[in-house]
Symmetry: D2
Subunit: 250 residues, 4 copies
Amino acid sequence: MTKNIKIDEGINIGDGSFTIIAGPCAIESREQMEKTGAFLAKLGIKIIRGGAFKPRTSPKSFQGLGLEGLKIMAEIKAKYNLKFISEVMDPRDLEMAYDYIDIFQIGSRNMQNFSLLKEVGKTDKPVMLKRGMSATIKEWIMAAEYISLEGNEKIILCERGIRTFEDYTRNTLDFMSIPILKEKTDYPVFVDPSHGTGRRDLVLPASKASKALNADGIIVEIHPNPEKALSDGSQSLSFEEFENLLNQLM
Amino acid sequence: MTKNIKIDEGINIGDGSFTIIAGPCAIESREQMEKTGAFLAKLGIKIIRGGAFKPRTSPKSFQGLGLEGLKIMAEIKAKYNLKFISEVMDPRDLEMAYDYIDIFQIGSRNMQNFSLLKEVGKTDKPVMLKRGMSATIKEWIMAAEYISLEGNEKIILCERGIRTFEDYTRNTLDFMSIPILKEKTDYPVFVDPSHGTGRRDLVLPASKASKALNADGIIVEIHPNPEKALSDGSQSLSFEEFENLLNQLM
Amino acid sequence: MTKNIKIDEGINIGDGSFTIIAGPCAIESREQMEKTGAFLAKLGIKIIRGGAFKPRTSPKSFQGLGLEGLKIMAEIKAKYNLKFISEVMDPRDLEMAYDYIDIFQIGSRNMQNFSLLKEVGKTDKPVMLKRGMSATIKEWIMAAEYISLEGNEKIILCERGIRTFEDYTRNTLDFMSIPILKEKTDYPVFVDPSHGTGRRDLVLPASKASKALNADGIIVEIHPNPEKALSDGSQSLSFEEFENLLNQLM
Amino acid sequence: MTKNIKIDEGINIGDGSFTIIAGPCAIESREQMEKTGAFLAKLGIKIIRGGAFKPRTSPKSFQGLGLEGLKIMAEIKAKYNLKFISEVMDPRDLEMAYDYIDIFQIGSRNMQNFSLLKEVGKTDKPVMLKRGMSATIKEWIMAAEYISLEGNEKIILCERGIRTFEDYTRNTLDFMSIPILKEKTDYPVFVDPSHGTGRRDLVLPASKASKALNADGIIVEIHPNPEKALSDGSQSLSFEEFENLLNQLM
């Protein structure tokens, strides 16, 4: 029986509905988030994603706007009545980020950053724990235990693909993790079809499969202008493509 | 546009329908196949699977009944009006097997057995080409070319999972291969949820995901008595479980 | 040209010699470390390993003695004139750990814990950066850049095996990373034959291969009583086995 | 205790010496093999490699000269007193190939082509069995059993790298397979540093590691003009590079 995680009045994850979270990979500017917030609100989407702290493979890539990004989001959230999910990377940032973020995301690279897991485990906010890119399902469940043992049971697990030899896609989505996690835990299970495939044209089929497998939702990258995105443009949907995805899923 | 492969009057693969093929991993006895044939005919299943030549990792494992198995099937096919798919492993067996088998299956281990591919490419029978367990999609498509260049375009591609570090499942089904192959080729695409997961309890969810992704069908292992199967019992459905799967998919 | 990293007067890594670091996976007790320190000093080993903070897959496994472990080491180091390498997992621990540890180790799970990398990058201590278990060589080099860009160039890279489908060994040592890193960077390159294989009987051959490939050294797990080790006993050498390894390598 | 496999008077594999086999990936012309044969004979190399039947991923790539290639080799062998190892891919070719080839090679793609394994198992010629690119060591040993159970115990196992996520090298050489196979079987173990790395600059370090691990030999690709090779040019050594390798190894 999947645990119901209340995000806000009338916004639940794990209640049997299929929740769609969307937003850009990274918060880049007020204008970008204004457009995105207005667009999502119009479509009835309740939770927006956007990275302020970006874990990038190279230290020379764009690292996110940090606190400035969070402040942009404070405005957008209020204006469009949205809840906000965003990644935290450093236990020392949690206190500062706490007031801005409604769902803490732990990224793939930090799935076994146990200090960070314990720290979000001490908060009362929901945590989305992404699967490590070479983590077994067993290791992933044990990583979730690092959070729950600190007292926080509001955990959402997010399949985002594993690293294999296949290079046509950025990662290989292990869709069978959905029924396996449903069997072994009572946490809601999400899928990230954007990072999971790395290809815009596969986001829709990956979302359909997720829904068919009774995932509790998906978290999708969209951008007002994917060609100009500072990160992950090739897997981000345009607004038009995202509307099409919504129509096809509903 | 997916190619329509006619198996018999009124039996097509790739025509937009979702074809379900079922049967045991290996032909073990006349009695086993009699029960299976009767059961499938009752349910309206048109194509039966069953291995006569079994490629087993160890030479000491059961290797299949060979020609004796094919002869059993000749009877069952006629009695229950079924078409028969079965694996061939050796180019020298093709002539003998030709009269018994309606769809030649090339197993995962032989995906790059180019002599065998060319040989089935010279026949006029449909060929189901399973993905090699560590083959990229690109290599798989090129393997299909070995068949088509000999003149046989009746090719069905079958995703059966790839080898990864995850060991909860026998293989990791790469479901994204379905939309990718649909984009890159015009061959029908099947999924083998039995080998793809190696676990009876995952056959149904894997089948649902296959259907949601517009696969052209699935090939499922069933056995009148899975606990006593000579191979792959842990991933075979009982008759009752298979009926449940049919009901859930329809 | 490999950079020479001075650990102490007369103790260098990267100067063309083959440095052997040894010690237990985890600091378990004063007695254990006393025995180990005396043993290593007798053999002329200059650097001892031992974990005070242990990143364990399960939160219920032994997590290390923490500060208590570091204090034990302060005594042992002084008594036997040894330098000490130990893992840090949390940027907040660095200040406290600084006085005890001579070489900071960043473990495999934290290779892309960028906050931690930056923090050790701000110190003046040598850092051993272990390869992530599914990191490409390119990603590993970029992780090292997170350290060097903060001003700390005293980086030692340590190959510890990657995750593959082969399950006879715990990981698959990618020995070719040694010449590749020597070509692409000027950092000394170590090998961890203990974690890299997970099997006591393979530590010696893995060490021989490392030396033949001009690695700058190895870091080996030893334990006065491997059968009773609180972690990684099956890959730890007994003192006798370690002496044999030294003799075979020299 | 490693089995000694006699190739000819005074030519043994598995007798404790380190045997170097060399030659081109594919036999391309009489002139190419004439140059190669003369060169190897001059250096005292006793066994030449060269493919007549080439298993290529694409059917449109050069497939080898077939029987014509074998006939070229008959001449070269006689003229320079060399033994000849070459791949067979089809059980139907064995009779024809028998008179030309001294050591049958089973390629990576055919490691589990059980029909072919049984067929070489019925001959009295040594067989070099390459590891499948995603085969576990256990599966590899069981593949060898398909040969030995037919009566042919003259088996040489050849590590040639496994498929992983690391893409800097063509494959990841699993060097630990050498001591593992030495422990578990009594067959000689070779390494293919050319396919195993896919990079000319890594052939020498891979060869050194093989020797340090007591492999029984290596099989190396060389070409009189690597830039013009019809296959695998980027991993082939020039004659000069090969002489350098010999000097460094001895």
